[in-house]
């Protein structure tokens, strides 16, 4: 019976939660600053920092058997493999014959029969006035 669990101090839980909330605020704020391609990188960096905190402290992996951390890292590695290798195809199409890169029809056919709507989803006619009718069934 002599098997002791590590008990995380309360202060750690509270600090981590506060940091997570703070970082959530930061990520929203940063998204309104236009940094071009860096926006997504920063958003992902913040998300990954948050995720790391959750995994190490809330999910206790910092103190647990390192085997468990290995399993978790493995899941990320396989996900990484899946994403990377799929992108090797989708990003590099048309490298030799450019014709094969893009789709032929840019827009799915069902859009042709969709009426323009206002911001409430109600159909508008050419002059921009909305009809307040029941939503049409498009099928």
């Amino acid at each position: 019976m002599a098997h002791q669990h590590h008990i995380t101090p309360l202060s750690i839980y509270l600090t981590i939660a506060a940091t997570l909330l703070f970082l959530s605020g930061v990520t929203v704020w940063v998204s309104y600053v236009d940094l071009g391609a860096m926006n997504i990188v920063i958003a992902m960096l913040i998300a990954t920092t948050k995720a790391t905190l959750v995994v190490l402290f809330f999910m206790h992996l910092l103190w647990d058997d390192k085997k468990l951390l290995t399993i978790f890292v493995m899941s990320l590695m396989f996900l990484g493999i899946f994403i990377t290798i799929t992108l090797l195809d989708t990003e590099f199409r048309g490298g030799v014959n450019p014709e094969v890169k893009d789709s032929i029809n840019k827009r799915a056919a069902f859009y042709d029969s969709l009426p323009l709507t206002d911001t409430h989803g109600n159909p508008v006619d050419e002059h921009g006035s909305s009809h307040h009718e029941e939503d049409e069934d498009h099928h």
Partner: protein, 218 residues
């Protein structure tokens, strides 16, 4: 290894001791977390591929989402992660009542999360921002963009699968409340609470990525 003569009631017959049972459960749980990550992984791949193909479409469709509700849900979910962690901390400290309070709080927060999601969803259903062929929203800000229904397909699938996990988590937390109240879980044996806790933090973890990926595209 000798068998414990006074083996506790929660020790299953095929284990030597409590330590072995605990470590086995934890290993199994993490293997399950791995499968969860890869289940969501498939959808992440779809997201990455389509976002890199149609960045314009993603940016324009993203503007139709409600950042405030998304942020509110982030706060709710992080708080519920904290209360879940505190429930375990409390039971480790032999404080059953505090643990119960924390579990109930977690349950309520989970319910709030789903409530906010419901408000978001019902608004989108009303205006026709639906997944796939059911998409019909052609408002002025999006009408010139090709195939926004793909964004909404991925959005609904990912948040829907995540919401399903929240709902399952609520069921499990409900069971924890019952088991703790009955005294089946206590400072000597709270493995189920720890396992469900790990599951619940995973739900939080996935939302941490979903939030910026859908609501905060530049």
């Amino acid at each position: 290894m000798s068998h414990d003569n006074s083996s506790p009631s929660f020790l299953q017959h095929h284990f030597h001791d409590v330590k072995q049972q605990y470590e086995t459960a934890k290993l199994g749980m993490w293997a399950f977390i791995l499968t969860e990550v890869l289940t969501f992984g498939g959808l992440f791949v779809a997201y990455v591929v389509y976002r890199s193909w149609y960045p314009e479409m993603f940016i324009n469709a993203n503007l139709l989402l409600d950042v405030n509700k998304g942020l509110l849900n982030t706060v709710v979910l992080i708080t519920s992660s904290l209360t879940m962690a505190l429930a375990i901390w409390a039971i480790q400290k032999k404080n059953k009542n505090l643990s119960l309070v924390m579990l109930i709080l977690t349950f309520i927060l989970a319910f709030m999360f789903l409530g906010i999601k419901y408000l978001e969803y019902s608004h989108k259903f009303e205006v026709g921002q639906l997944p796939g062929e059911y998409y019909s929203y052609m408002g002025p800000e999006i009408a010139h963009i090709n195939n926004p229904h793909i964004f909404f397909s991925i959005y609904f699938m990912m948040t829907g699968l995540h919401g399903l996990h929240v709902a399952i988590g609520m069921g499990l937390i409900g069971w924890l409340i019952y088991a703790t109240a009955k005294g089946n879980l206590h400072s000597e044996y709270y493995t189920p609470m720890e396992m469900i806790g790990i599951f619940w933090h995973l739900v939080d973890l996935i939302w941490i990525y979903l939030f910026p990926l859908f609501y905060l595209i530049g």
